[in-house]
């Protein structure tokens, strides 16, 4: 099979590492060769954060370049706009509608672009979800990442059991129930 590429984008601190690990575990259990590329260090401090998940029979490069992603999962609208060039023609963008001001907007040097979800829809297949509200409904704003994984799960056909196992593997026991709930809320979007 051809290599499939999924990009996860967001703002440092939003939990993209957990999301990419969940997905990586599901794909490995499904029998694929998998590579997941993460970002650590300075970029994690509230900057743009990008992780790559690639799978197939044999994966070489761990990174995704412009025009290569079959799917982008984004935790924040501005990051969706920034990552659009990485989407393959016909690719899908699952985005949270959350907006977090970057420093140039906070300092008043730039404006946060308006109506991004609509503008993105003109260029690509977009599924926009209020993941923050769903996460708060599940018990913590921090679970938006798992909500979006639920959305992804509902758009792919990997067995439920694999997702549940991955959650157990990657989430600390005391947050497991909360995250299961967040996953379910995302799944039913």
């Amino acid at each position: 099979m051809e290599i499939k590429s999924i990009m996860i984008v967001g703002v440092g601190g939003q939990g993209s590492l957990l999301a990419s690990r969940l997905l990586g575990n599901v794909l490995l259990a499904q029998g694929y060769d998998v590579k997941v590329s993460e970002v650590h260090g300075m970029s994690q401090r509230g900057g743009s954060v990008v992780t790559y998940v690639k799978y197939g029979e044999k994966v070489y490069s761990p990174v995704i370049e412009k025009g290569e992603a079959d799917m982008i999962i984004s935790f924040e609208l501005l990051e969706s706009a920034r990552s659009l060039p990485y989407l393959k023609e016909g690719g899908k963008l699952i985005t949270s509608t959350q907006q977090i001001d970057p420093m140039p907007v906070i300092t008043g040097n730039m404006e946060y672009p308006e109506n991004l979800a609509e503008k993105l829809s003109e260029k690509a297949k977009v599924i926009a979800v209020d993941a923050l509200s769903l996460a708060e409904q599940a018990g913590s704003a921090k679970a938006s990442n798992v909500v979006l994984m639920g959305v992804l799960a509902s758009r792919t056909d990997y067995p439920e059991e694999l997702w549940q196992n991955a959650l157990k593997e990657c989430v600390p026991a005391k947050f497991l129930e909360l995250n299961k709930k967040a996953f379910e809320l995302g799944r039913s979007v």
Binding site: V36, S37, S61, M103, G108
Partner: protein, 578 residues
């Protein structure tokens, strides 16, 4: 036991150390190398510690090796500069039990102050260097590195890169092989490197390099992957091998070099004879390319098409060699950049706000607080390397005299101060400059993801450890004026800095408040802006807090980020923040 697991390169490296029977680890954290040591510390059979700096770590590891146990130390590329002194002579002494050193380069400078190619250190110190290209190889190469170390009597460096260290791929796990403690025998001619003995060891080093070169000719770590459909050949190493395979597939035969020092001669000559054109695809400097030309292989193309700046990837290779470019879409929109920022509640914010207000020259250092250089705080003049804030300020003041001494400070974190700031402070006291040094004591090594250090009271395993008393330490080296301030209290902090700048002798200010991300730190409830009282003056925005933004000309605070540190409240003249 055999099972497949998805592992970070660094985690797989740690697994390799465990399986190879490594007994003692001493490292200093640095992105992208940190997780090797954190992960290996999870195995009970391995003793692991954070050393105060890379030089201490490497000397400790060499001591372990001489003492007869398999040893490891890990660091980032710039850390190897700090540890270069022991490295170059450890090359001469060689080892007793195996000694493996990890150095992680940061192509693309995701989290570093320069983009140096560590292969130069391996060449200059005449130490063999291996370079894996995925997690599975990380584990296997570590085990092989211990064998090479013991068979050839040499330390062995394993070079990592950001992409290899921080990518997960599939690893096959096996059992640990316990290696007993080797006998220690006193051998001054091998371990006492004074001129008479060192001369003999230099001869040994040159002979060893030749033997290692012969080994590189036939070692399975270097392998030619011949494609029958190949139009040309490629010589590559590390992460660039993965990009090459993805971009070129069967259109190229590939010579993958797992031993990047010393480089083979006959293997390369034979491979290059097979094709009219050979591309050398290596990140950073053209080291393999220069080697090819040195041995008379001239049908190579390298740095004339692949930059020595930043990372290579599959798109770059496809474009430069095949002329293939992907289509992509973008919005017709000016998208604001999102640089990293100090977290909401970061104790460094208040300190830098005061420095900006005072308009002083700030001699900076390496850590989260380097973000103090970014807008809107913009309160940093220089950042060079770990420790340079303190020694650099002393020099700056020696150049510019008394006037400068009252208008300049150094800022340095607790871990960085212990790493190499303390020697600069000794110099300030000894050679008498009236410098003001601010230690930003957030009780942890922050930027690399919360590692313990000699000031935190805990060791790598989280057990209680002796905590260096910074106040006493500064006094002991000759600084009489040592003050402590809480950076959440803006007025108090500003006053303390003013007084120490005015003082006619050297001083240290300890700006003390634990990192807001530490789990044990109790936060106050998120603050709120009263829409009625807020006049939209944006005074709070000058703090550069990511939790505060302006909506409809009034400040709003994001309750999911705010930890109630209160410096915006102190800043608001209208009492609008509660």
């Amino acid at each position: 036991m055999s099972m497949k697991k998805l592992m970070l390169g660094n985690e797989a490296f740690a697994r390799g150390l465990y399986e190879a029977g490594c007994r003692v680890v001493s490292s200093y954290p640095g992105t992208p190398s940190t997780e090797i040591t954190e992960k290996v510390a999870e195995y009970d059979e391995v003793y692991a510690e954070w050393a105060p700096n890379e030089k201490v770590a490497m000397e400790t590891a060499l001591g372990v090796s001489i003492g007869g146990a398999r040893a490891f130390c890990g660091m980032k590329h710039v850390g190897l500069n700090v540890a270069a002194d022991p490295l170059y002579t450890a090359s001469y002494t060689g080892v007793n039990a195996g000694l493996v050193i990890a150095v992680a380069d940061d192509q693309g400078m995701h989290s570093s102050q320069n983009e140096q190619d560590s292969r130069h250190h391996a060449i200059a110190s005449k130490v063999p260097m291996l370079e894996p290209s995925d997690s599975g190889e990380c584990k296997e190469f570590v085990k092989r590195a211990f064998e090479i170390s013991e068979n050839f009597d040499t330390p062995v460096i394993v070079r990592m890169s950001t992409r290899v260290a921080h990518s997960q791929s599939v690893v096959e796990i096996s059992e640990r092989r316990e290696i007993g403690l080797k006998e220690y025998t006193k051998k001054p001619e091998k371990y006492v490197m004074m001129p008479a003995y060192a001369k003999g060891r230099h001869v040994f080093v040159e002979e060893r390099t030749e033997k290692l070169r012969e080994y590189a000719e036939t070692s399975p770590l270097n392998r030619a992957e011949i494609s029958e459909k190949a139009e040309f050949g490629v010589i590559t190493n590390g992460a660039a091998y993965q990009y090459t395979k993805e971009a070129l597939g069967e259109r190229a035969s590939v010579l993958k070099l797992g031993i990047v020092n010393p480089l083979p001669v006959e293997l390369i000559k034979d491979f290059c004879k097979k094709y009219k054109k050979i591309y050398i695809i290596e990140e950073l400097d053209g080291i393999i390319e220069s080697h090819c030309r040195n041995i008379g292989v001239n049908n190579v193309v390298g740095k004339e098409i692949f930059s020595c700046i930043g990372e290579i990837n599959q798109s770059v290779i496809a474009e430069k060699i095949l002329g293939r470019v992907n289509n992509f879409q973008q919005l017709d929109e000016n998208i604001p950049v999102r640089p990293p920022v100090m977290c909401a509640g970061c104790p460094h914010r208040g300190l830098f706000y005061c420095l900006k207000k005072l308009g002083v020259m700030v001699s900076g250092d390496i850590g989260c607080y380097t973000l103090g250089a970014s807008a809107p705080l913009s309160a940093m003049d220089t950042t060079i390397c770990m420790g340079a804030s303190v020694s650099g300020l002393h020099g700056f003041n020696k150049a510019r005299g008394a006037d400068s001494e009252h208008r300049s400070v150094a800022v340095i974190g607790d871990s960085t101060f212990i790493h190499s700031g303390i020697t600069g402070l000794v110099n300030i006291a000894y050679n008498n400059s009236n410098s003001t040094v601010i230690i930003l004591d957030n009780s942890i090594t922050g930027m690399t993801g919360h590692q313990q250090n000699p000031t935190t009271g805990k060791n790598l395993k989280g057990e209680p450890a002796y905590a260096v008393n910074l106040e006493e330490l500064c006094k002991a080296v000759g600084i009489k004026r040592v003050r402590v301030t809480d950076p959440y209290k803006l007025a108090e902090t500003e006053q303390v800095i003013r007084e120490e700048l005015e003082a006619d002798e050297a001083s240290v200010i300890i700006s003390r408040r634990p990192c807001a991300l530490l789990k044990y730190v109790k936060h106050s409830p998120a603050l709120k802006v009263s829409g009625e009282k807020c006049v939209g003056c944006k005074a709070c925005m000058k703090l550069g807090c990511p939790a505060i933004s302006i909506r409809n000309k009034k400040a709003v605070i994001d309750h999911t980020q705010c930890v109630g540190c209160g410096i915006c409240k102190e800043q608001c003249k209208f009492g609008a923040i509660e």
